[in-house]
Symmetry: C2
Subunit: 239 residues, 2 copies
């Protein structure tokens, strides 16, 4: 491990699911908001269906079928599409905006903040997320994530797993790809990062998608680091 | 002041001279390095002449005479140009790179970290500097600057005082220009920010350029805030 801890200068993190619990946070946030507003819906199903539109929406940008569009806008389009089937077609513009910004109000998994705080002492840490800069900045303040820089894929106008996203973060930090480690709970993200020359670290989030999750339960390849969680990642990286 | 503290969501800072003492830091850093390396030069004069090439170098990018080029590269070209007249033409590539990165190793003025820490509790804080992302990220870790996001003009490919730099930071944060306050010790920077619709805050750094400084000793216009320093700015902004 010692050569790795000397080579790596920056550790960049997948965020949705890897650092923050988007599903649990959305259910908690919208349940409380719904009670305050007198609005009822199956918030867990909404969260799942909303996230289900995430990849198809980004894919239209990746393929060039539509020009670069930030995730806040994609999220809002998906939300507007889903609201009628949840009996929520009556939500006002202001309510829709508040619901859409639930992605700015996600809580960290229990180990994330402690682990990131330790890693920050030795490495540059930042999100490498498909979330846009405003989303990630607001989320960091909400959740208390101690990033050094907000390294959104918005900066490179390329959604992961496009190679330009991984190469873009190395370039903007003035580093070689091998000096950057992508840290994620998703094997496919890590595969694309490794193909671009980055180092890789995995830990599982076995309930990211709820109790019946079937994917990403364990490492699918021999990533440079396989950890229990971000706290264990910090230990393995010498922090 | 109360309407201002409710309107403003993000406070973005000029860095060189306003938050960090580039001149004093360069003299300290290179004097110590020179003693270790057995290299002597008039480091104060080098700092002044190096900074003197800053605006002319950026101006060639602003006018389109050369394509977008990050500040690390501009700094290096200026350094290479100056070394012979300081008797330093013999510096190796590795030594030149180390000297050039002195801009990544600048110390904050004594009030900066305390003031920024207080402002961070209420506002998004970040640099709006012509320094590139890598430079500002490394500087923040070196100096202990608690930024929420590194909002370099590199992200908008426009050097201040071009309007696109000020409008770019509002756009990437998902804010209106009037929800963003530019905070600086330089009147011309604030004038350009105000023209772009941003709020403005000034405090003087009367020895930024050394003991004989003549410019920016006081506010030249009625900026939204005129403070004694960043600690006082925090007080005036309700923190």
């Amino acid at each position: 491990m010692s050569s790795l801890t000397h080579t790596v200068k920056a550790m960049v993190f997948d965020v949705f699911g890897s650092v923050v619990d988007w599903r649990g946070s959305i259910i908690r946030d919208l349940t409380r908001w719904g009670e305050q507003q007198g609005v009822q819906a199956d918030w867990a199903l909404l969260a799942d269906k909303w996230r289900g539109l995430y990849q198809p929406q980004m894919e239209r940008v990746r393929t060039g079928a539509r020009p670069w569009t930030i995730l806040d806008v994609l999220h809002r389009e998906s939300l507007d599409q889903l609201l009628p089937e949840f009996g929520l077609a009556h939500l006002t513009e202001s309510q829709r905006d508040h619901v859409n910004r639930v992605w700015h109000r996600l809580d960290a998994w229990p180990d994330s903040i402690a682990g990131l705080g330790r890693l920050k002492c030795r490495y540059i840490i930042g999100p490498l997320s498909n979330g846009n800069v405003a989303l990630l900045t607001n989320m960091a303040k909400y959740a208390g994530l101690p990033w050094d820089a907000i390294l959104s894929t918005e900066l490179y106008r390329a959604y992961k797993p496009q190679p330009a996203a991984y190469l873009g973060v190395a370039n903007i930090l003035g580093l070689q790809p091998a000096e950057v480690m992508l840290c994620a709970a998703h094997n496919n993200d890590l595969g694309a990062a490794r193909a671009a020359g980055l180092k890789t670290a995995f830990w599982p989030r076995q309930t990211e998608h709820g109790p019946g999750q079937t994917g990403d339960l364990r490492a699918s390849e021999s990533w440079d680091i396989v950890a229990l969680d971000i706290r264990d990642l910090a230990t393995q990286m010498g922090c």
